[in-house]
Symmetry: D2
Subunit: 286 residues, 4 copies
């Protein structure tokens, strides 16, 4: 499937400042990027970086000039999505995880999975199979957490979301990741451009590592799983935030667009969790 | 300086289990390792791994056989320590940090530096210079936190230590890292073999990135800074723990030794923070 | 001084519900109430209650009828304020506190003073004299905490306020009370009508028990101390909230007024903490 | 039933200090006390106090003399226990609670029931009837929380216990109270002498107010419910702790005994929660 993604961040700079932003789509076996353009309007020194194990593609801007700063990004992303049968996904032992996967079993800032083990086992420990546990978690998130913009803030973590039962995409992802890690299922945070998301915005979901592959999960169910273009992976929102600001700089605006680009013979059938469940399928992008 | 390090971990395995351990010393420009031997006594499949940006050298053991398991490690570590003059260490802007350093500005599981910004600025914001702030933090830790084994547990984080005013080496490091990150000084956790530490045990300290280099800091002041051999770096204890256990395995014993190995013409002069402060020097291992 | 106070609470009832409200002014040796009227507009069963050691005057309304409910209150409050010299206030031993005072040394929901002992001693332990410590706390609150509506919510406690450095009157009071109790100074929460508060609203402050009397303190400094008419005392906001709702009832509006009523020969001189400090005086209402 | 209770607290005094202790049994309609003796061995000024709505009988000791201090207490307590049929206990509306009961709906230091509402409703909201909910809570505590001395400390609250799934009697009571208050069932903490408790110690449980009466609940199930002699009520352990120390005084020892004193024609049949459940009965002391 081919997507046309576009985003813009606007800032007001008042003094020496650094901006680390993550707008460029990831390049992975299942996601190729073309006709990509990231343009900086305003005075700033720019460095493009690949950060972390997952090669997140950050852009660092350094500015000492008071004034407006804008970053405009657009690209064409080609994603290849497959739908393996759930019955073919086997639970793997920790022993089989490589080092880059084991990292995603550890607790992190917004994911205190070490404190939530008894809770996770209580809720999902009786379910057979890691993928089946992950699906039960997705279901629990959808049924127990209200999607409510403004109900959380940037310091909210998985335990807060469990208690308040409300949050935004980031909070759903953190709580899902916490339950998974507590059950010894590696889980990572992912930010995405999301087709059909209303209103258009950056979105976050998570991926679980089972049987050698990373399956995509989104407990909010507010955008089709096969309409997502991945931007950055991380342990949690710390690693994969769209923009991190240092110094005399404040955000003044933002826009995001994710459109589909059909070939004549193609058709986009939005797949959400329930559609897949009916067919006994999982979703995989690689 | 040449150190002879030796450690042993003992476990009882009752069922399928995985052990991820970090005993082998890091290889860095300032630390070379020779005559290294890690031996596993007991039935287990072994994999040696390099994990993360800092190339921590983990060993993964997989065992399905009930019985005892022991890991014995010994090596000779040659460390090159330099003592740059504090007056030559300049505060750097965030703009100059590369991506692998920026990671160490983010909060992590035991280091909620995002929640401790006002506090850190209140205590240390008035001090000029990043290295001077880091030294003030080291001093504050030594003066305000009691080194008290048993006063914290594995879920204790930097805020707990700030409130209880007590902890072990890990807690001193987490709180120091939290203050540094809150002040926009990159800081990383490091586990070490520590010469002259009484009683002998694994030890933890932290390093701050200022003016392009990582300086070693230890607010406990219970071991000489130039007697440390580094094992693993990380955001906090999550990434660099000596052993992480999964499945049917429990620890039954541990021993650690770090001895010095003099050449005829050498002499080891233990340097602690106060000795260095008197001379206006920092400590650097690279 | 004579004050004319007036308040109104509006609710929408959708089903069986109970409202516990605290609008009526306290009757104390230093505060007498006359021409008082609390009127309920709408269908509800009303009970007037005196609750707790301090005889807070709650009104309980029980309603099963869908519709609007309004509570209108007005009264004339005569307050007698004295200004004892600070040099005459002696620090008392715990031994001298009666049982009704000792209660105010214990931690409570929003005042985890048991966790903040080291912190309080670190900040204020070096100051001689309980009243001097309380004044230093008032000063610290004013200088370190930003008065910022919307920065906290109803679950915020003293530790949150210490970390975020922002809050509303309730948060200033909770943090002040926490520091005092941690230093073994009994402290209680008080809600008030506040003359000259802009915009007019319910207000909260706290009182400390030193040398046998309760002195009034308000770290927000947004209203004169001698312009307050006390409504309810409590351990913290739990005990003294203006309204607690159970069942099918939601607030729809609120208004508060506190005006002064001069005699021909009187004059109101607003006294805030700084005015009093200049004169070496405390403020006392009894 | 007649119980012979005996307790002793030992302290070492090093300087001016105050001790507030709660050893004397409560006098209530269902519990009468005779042949009571509280003796202080050592130099201290003693005051006997009744504190709070529930008339807890504290003893305050003030001492300035270095040396040993011991408090010995013994009494005969006659308790009248009734076993109303559960089917006769009706759920009452908040509207019917008097002010002294409403206090026990509010959150307190170790019972953050305001943060645990969604959780409590999720677990117990589907159960019909307040008493049935309370019984489900008792059952949940027994099945999900491990009684494990040393697993908690004096700052542990209900949320900690929910997460760690372990604690002592105090922690079981706090978590039970939190669930109840979150469901709008008034609940209070109670410390007791407990017959047949092994090893003998002070014990804590809780009481819920339903249909006009306070029913006793103990999720630990480590002592018979009809073998308890009540010492003090409170919102949580803050209000009802056996001893609160101020100044230069530390505990050095403690002993507790609770024996039964049979009449010739009497027999003591230990009733625990399961015995009562089989008969469809509750337990009530008044």
């Amino acid at each position: 499937m081919r997507f046309y993604v576009k985003s813009s961040l606007q800032y007001q700079v008042s003094g020496p400042s650094t901006l680390l932003c993550s707008l460029r789509c990831l390049k992975t076996p299942g996601q190729s990027i073309s006709e990509e353009c990231l343009e900086v309007i305003g005075r700033a020194d720019r460095t493009d970086l690949s950060v972390g194990l997952e090669e997140n593609r950050f852009t660092k801007l350094e500015s000492s000039w008071a004034g407006e700063l804008r970053i405009d990004y657009n690209a064409i992303a080609e994603t290849t999505v497959s739908y393996p049968s759930v019955s073919d996904i086997f639970t793997a032992e920790v022993a089989s995880f490589g080092p880059e996967v084991i990292t995603y079993l550890f607790p992190s800032r917004y994911v205190p999975s070490d404190s939530m083990r008894a809770l996770a086992w209580d809720l999902f420990g009786g379910i057979n199979g890691a993928f089946q546990q992950a699906m039960a978690i997705e279901n629990w998130l959808f049924e127990h957490i209200a999607y409510l913009p403004g109900s959380s803030d940037e310091q909210s973590g998985a335990l807060d979301t469990f208690l308040t039962r409300s949050g935004v995409c980031r909070d759903f992802a953190h709580l899902g990741i916490a339950f998974c890690r507590a059950l010894t299922i590696p889980a990572r945070y992912v930010t995405v451009y999301a087709y059909l998301l209303e209103p258009q915005d950056f979105h976050a979901a998570f991926e679980v590592f089972i049987d050698g592959r990373w399956y995509l999960i989104d407990g909010t169910r507010i955008a089709p799983l096969n309409g997502m273009v991945r931007i950055a992976f991380g342990r949690d929102a710390c690693d994969a935030s769209v923009a991190t600001l240092f110094g005399g700089i404040v955000g003044t605006g933002m826009s995001v667009h994710c459109q589909i680009s059909f070939d004549a013979d193609e058709e986009f059938l939005p797949m959400n969790r329930c559609d897949l469940e009916d067919k006994g399928e999982a979703i995989l992008m690689e």
